[in-house]
């Protein structure tokens, strides 16, 4: 089972199953430590297609709504 980062509940922790984005965006994600197989935790989600914040390792990263929708998590 997979779930998009947008749909995941807050405080959900899971591994990234897939990043459905262009190579350029994938690269950007990669350098921030967001890549396939990496465990991340969703912190919050802002209403009205607002940004999503996640915790990756020791950093907190904010992603715009459509960027967040490209990250697919594994649902355990």
């Amino acid at each position: 089972m997979k779930i998009s980062l947008i749909k995941a509940k807050k405080n959900y922790r899971g591994k990234i199953a897939e990043i459905a984005a262009s190579p350029a965006t994938q690269n950007k994600f990669m350098s921030l430590g967001l890549y396939k197989g990496r465990e991340i935790a969703k912190i919050s989600h802002f209403a009205l297609r607002g940004p999503v914040t996640v915790k990756v390792g020791r950093s907190v990263i904010a992603l715009g709504h459509s960027m967040a929708s490209k990250i697919i998590l594994e649902l355990e």
């Binding site: 350029a24 690269n27 950007k28 990669m30 350098s31 921030l32 430590g33 890549y35 396939k36 990496r38 912190i43 919050s44 989600h45 802002f46 209403a47 009205l48 297609r49 607002g50 940004p51 914040t53 990756v56 390792g57 020791r58 950093s59 907190v60 990263i61 904010a62 992603l63 715009g64 709504h65 459509s66 960027m67």
Partner: protein, 576 residues
């Protein structure tokens, strides 16, 4: 032999602080990614040798994704590896993410030294890094430092010559992360600790409800403090100095000059009932210093104090998250709030900070909106000083008009400009509390920068105006524009001079309005126009540099068009 040192690292790891420590050259540092958008250069001496130090904008990897990153990576690539050293600065509280760039630098064969910065903060957060082991695993020198207090800088200097090239094969990104995982596993020990108040606040500020409440409180408190501190400085320091010490001196000079004549007109200006009125005299020694020191400077000090504090604590990126949604509607994303806030101090650094935005389209929108809808502190201080006496309603009105223009124009630009605006992607830094000395230093340099830029222009400007008024050279220009200014905006023809002076400096321009005896409505319209229409010459130059000639013309036409429309609407439609 090394003659050049590059400082490179992820955004917001303290490169600029290390740079200041090494070279003694002060550069602005803050607690958010992307403070440094340009390249700073300085020198430091190592024994007999003079070595150039280059502070590069922060980058997460050697594959650049923004213009600022492109510049950093390009400069590094073009420099000969034999005569340069690369200092890679790492945030110790976030070793894992930082090592990505470090490994890339090693793989590319740069002569490297690694600096584990912010080691004090890492300690507070229960992060312990075994530096000698890391040195062994990476194969390059690793030096723990705390740049804000200066710990470790001496050691860094003494080991600069040990920077070395390690030949490693190039890894794929995935392999690199795997390797980082094993390094971090070996060198980093985490002690689990209870959540501190700081961590609770960090968390609360990035959740919708608590974040919104916090932002309202922070923004409100900031406005209040800037206002109160500014007034306090005026009432307790600057006004007493001007009225009790300076004025008697000037009265003597006035008497000496005979109370009239050309020189008196230039230096003192016109006496009102035999007395010097600092607000209306328009002399080089009276109104010019009064505007800069007693009306504008106090607010410059209080504004930059609060801005610097918010910057260094690391609150601004959190504000960016909250505003991302709104800014999306005008073709920008959350991070654009930082150039906008800087623009409230002075449009010049604000527009320069738009470099952190990735696309040309965003940069054009942001720069245009800043130069139209964001009034700088000198202008705001004068608006408060002048319109304030008619009541807060008018002052609030100016902001309301500017804000509406900003939103409407932004929405129009977003719909009509080609291309799309990239999405928001930002690392949110932890809260940090800067040592007071660092904060004071930053405030000192910003205020000094303001004085150096402003005072000569204001003095010369007022001198020039006085000469032109005295020789009646303005009458020609006034005659040409009078129909628009009178007919469309409902202002007296003398206001043409003030609006024209706005190109030189906005605060002097508002100052020129003081002796005209305008009604509240006229003053309101004039102040709004001054804010929206042409930017001052310094802003103009930086707009040209950042946008290029074609886009400058485009932005300028938008400014003029909007000013005509809004000025007319305010005169005929809203304010009867």
């Amino acid at each position: 032999m090394i003659n050049k040192i590059f400082l490179i690292g992820n955004p917001n790891v303290g490169k600029s602080v290390v740079f200041s420590r090494l070279t003694g050259v002060h550069v602005i540092s803050s607690n958010y990614p992307g403070t440094t958008v340009g390249i700073s250069k300085g020198f430091f001496t190592l024994g007999e040798e003079k070595i150039e130090v280059v502070d590069l904008p922060g980058t997460y990897s050697l594959e650049s994704t923004s213009r600022a990153e492109e510049v950093a990576v390009g400069l590094l690539r073009d420099s000969p590896k034999e005569t340069s050293a690369v200092i890679n600065i790492i945030d110790s509280t976030n070793l894992e993410r930082n090592l990505f760039l470090t490994l890339q630098l090693i793989e590319e064969g740069y002569p490297l030294i690694v600096v584990l910065n912010m080691c004090d903060d890492a300690g507070h957060r229960g992060v312990d890094i075994n530096a000698p082991l890391l040195e062994k695993m990476l194969g390059v020198p690793v030096i723990p430092t705390c740049a804000v207090t200066g710990v470790g800088i001496k050691l860094l200097v003494s080991r600069i010559k040990e920077s070395c090239i390690v030949k490693e094969k190039r890894l794929t990104h995935e392999e690199r992360w795997l390797k980082i995982g094993s390094i971090v596993e070996a060198v980093q020990k985490l002690t689990h600790r209870h959540h501190t108040l700081r961590e609770v606040l960090e968390d609360a500020s990035i959740r919708p409800l608590t974040g919104l409440l916090m932002s309202v409180a922070v923004v409100y408190a900031s406005f209040k403090v800037v206002r109160l501190l500014g007034e306090l400085l005026i009432n307790k320091i600057f006004d007493p100095v001007f009225f009790n010490l300076y004025q008697p001196l000037l009265m003597k000079l006035s008497a000496f000059l005979g109370g009239d004549g050309f020189l008196h007109h230039l230096l003192i200006g016109d006496l009102i009932n035999g007395k010097i009125d600092f607000r209306q005299a328009l002399g080089v020694l009276t109104t010019a210093p009064y505007i800069e020191f007693a009306m504008v400077l106090p607010y410059v000090v209080s504004f930059y104090l609060i801005l610097s504090l918010l910057e260094d604590i690391g609150y601004l990126p959190r504000l960016a998250i909250l505003l991302d949604n709104v800014l999306h509607r005008i073709g920008l994303h959350g991070f654009a709030i930082i150039p906008v806030l800087l623009g409230f101090g002075c449009n010049v650094p604000g527009i320069m900070a738009t470099r952190v935005l990735e696309s040309k389209r965003e940069r054009f929108i942001a720069a245009t909106l800043i130069s139209i809808g964001v009034p700088c502190v000198p202008l705001q201080a004068m608006i408060f000083g002048l319109l304030g006496s008619f009541g807060g309603f008018y002052v609030g009105g100016v902001y309301l008009v500017l804000f509406s223009v900003l939103i409407i124009l932004g929405a129009i630009l977003n719909r009509t400009l080609k291309g799309f605006s990239p999405e928001f992607l930002l690392e949110i830094p932890p809260y940090r509390f800067p040592p007071l000395a660092i904060l004071g230093q930053k405030l000192y340099y910003r205020v000094k920068g303001f004085l150096v830029e402003a005072v000569p222009v204001v003095l010369l400007g007022v001198l020039l105006i006085n000469l032109l008024i005295y020789t009646r050279s303005f009458d020609f220009v006034t005659g040409i524009f009078a129909p628009i200014v009178k007919g469309l905006f409902g202002l007296p023809k003398e206001a043409v001079v003030a609006l024209a002076i706005g190109f030189l400096r906005k605060d002097v321009a508002v100052g020129m309005l003081m002796p005209l005896g305008l009604s509240a409505k006229q003053l309101f319209i004039a102040a709004t126009l001054l804010a929206m229409s042409f930017p001052c010459v310094a802003t103009f130059v930086v707009l040209f540099k950042e946008l290029g000639f074609k886009n400058l013309v485009k932005a300028t036409s938008i400014m003029i068009g909007i000013s005509l429309v809004v000025g007319g609407i305010l005169n005929f439609g809203i304010l009867r």
